[in-house]
Symmetry: C3
Subunit: 251 residues, 3 copies
């Protein structure tokens, strides 16, 4: 199995390089970077990023370290779902991993680095445990089963009635505002999307196809996005993650 890393460590500081040293000296498995640019401490952003990426990485061990509670009583989860493995602090990061999974609480110190710190479990616990998983260690070696994991306080979209309600869950570098409303659930022939003071009634199939102004588009994950052609919609409309949206029939 291969390893895929997701952290909020950035690449300016030595934390990722240290983690990779521990991994590369303990396993021959391939090490891939998903991202290290999750905003500091932003567990929700990590959870959404992970959910977007997972379908495209079969047979992979996802090593996720966005961990403001490092060194406190929070647990570390090792999760198994089919041929995938997930390693993350038990802080909600795995909230959006659905399906039939089972999990253990990683507590077996034999798999940790000796004399570890309370401040860098990425190096002292996540990396050696991930290397062990890559080398074939079974999940149950790592610790006792967990019946439940911590879940983020996230309100999923509501689709009932004449108005669908959702949230902008991500703003990308192009300024596309990605919502959690699934496009396949839209039943309105002529859609109007309300966000803040804006009402957006133009739709487009491709980013470059639309005329001037904001439009609604089905993004690559199948969710509605608010976009502008060759312009940064988020900046121009002053939208940000967490903004609530409403979708209904155009009046």
């Amino acid at each position: 199995m291969r390893l895929a890393l997701l952290t909020d460590f950035g690449t300016v500081d030595p934390y990722v390089a240290v983690m990779k040293g521990v991994l590369a000296s303990r396993t021959d498995a391939a090490i891939h970077d998903l991202t290290h640019e999750i905003p500091a401490f932003d567990v929700f952003a990590a959870a959404w990023f992970l959910a977007t990426v997972v379908p495209w990485w079969p047979q992979t061990i996802f090593v996720c370290v966005v961990d403001p509670g490092v060194g406190t009583a929070r647990k570390i989860v090792a999760m198994e779902r089919g041929e995938e493995r997930f390693l993350a602090p038990d802080n909600g990061l795995l909230t959006m991993i659905g399906g039939a999974w089972r999990a253990v609480s990683v507590e077996n110190e034999a798999y940790f680095l000796p004399h570890g710190s309370a401040t860098f479990h990425g190096r002292d616990r996540f990396a050696p445990v991930a290397a062990a998983l890559a080398n074939g260690t079974p999940l149950d070696e790592l610790g006792p089963p967990m019946a439940a994991i911590v879940r983020l306080d996230y309100e999923p979209p509501s689709y009932g009635g004449a108005i669908m309600r959702g949230t902008i869950v991500s703003v990308d570098r192009f300024g596309n505002c990605i919502t959690d409303i699934e496009a396949a659930r839209i039943t309105f022939p002529r859609l109007a999307l309300h966000v803040g003071e804006h009402v957006i009634t133009h739709s487009s199939r491709a980013y470059g196809e639309a005329g001037k102004g904001a439009f609604v588009i089905t993004g690559s994950t199948g969710h509605l996005e608010i976009s502008m052609a060759n312009a940064n919609a988020a900046q121009l409309l002053r939208l940000r993650r967490g903004d609530r949206i409403e979708v209904g029939e155009k009046e």
Copy 2:
């Protein structure tokens, strides 16, 4: 052959990670990052970056996705030149790839992901086609030949006469202003470079050798650069990409 990726996706959003998942699950070829930090939609910057890098990567498949027209009628080019392959939207990105090449328009849907989007061809078309090329698929399987490709509206430098005229084509993180004037073409014993209100008459062989003030230097690609020792010339002289320069004999 190995794969080398060049995009404007950044690493904050999940787009690169998703593309790499598609690649890694379809081919054992090595996957290298050239950059993902091309400014959003900046096809010229991508073309210049690519031209700088290509000579140093033999036997490589270059996967280039700076694609403001994704999902519109623009074509996707697969190009072959000796042992190199290039995959890019047909928007001028390959303008600076010279020599004897042949190209096809990538249209064979058998090589695309099924149920693809109109917004993320990096995932749905570029990645699976690149994996197919890495696995040995011949170019002609992908689509019909193209006699010509889209070229950028770029005015190359003029070398005739007493004044050579060119452009600042890139400003690097150190503030070096890289022009498109080839140093080997300079015939003036004592050179003066005019840019905006500035006249630069000092030359240097090495960045760290010069005294105070701006100087002209032959950069690593053989083009003239405007630089300052241990200082950011672009910021201090207020220069930017696209600024026109004139080079002549010092009066």
Copy 3:
């Protein structure tokens, strides 16, 4: 042996991609990125980063290019320590590599690219020499022995007496201010850390454990850090690298 790269080139410009092309076309050794985000010309930051990372990368060739003197009379050092190799400009970058090492001055032009530049030794000298080392070339092939290398003008911490004195040597992306005071040397039962106008008397074992306000914590390298829980201590306290600190018994 594997290769690990540390530069101040960033990933926006093509310099790292070019270096990797030279490496990948000359050796099958694995190529890892430590960082390319050292601040431009910041040799001290590179030296500290390297010292933090080295213990976790056994049997590695460290290729370090933070090189404001490129093309001048400064030497290039190739250093051997046990199973580790270091390649760096002789400008102090290897100051913090202790222990029993031996070094040569890299001067044998047979290992350089032909027709190299005076501006990009990363491509023309460091990369081909690193590839040669990875392919088994002995150190002594590269040039004559060096009895000493350039060292940074860095004042190490003083531990004698009732007051220990040190420096903030790094500020990470979370705002943790990392000092050069080794926690194991602290002998005060109740510690007070003075920095600028601040006196910090709270200590914590984990970042997330502390209450409001700044605290002192033992970081992952065993040095004292100044931190705040889920907040950016450097910004809020207006601290920066180079600030001097004093540690003593709380009054």
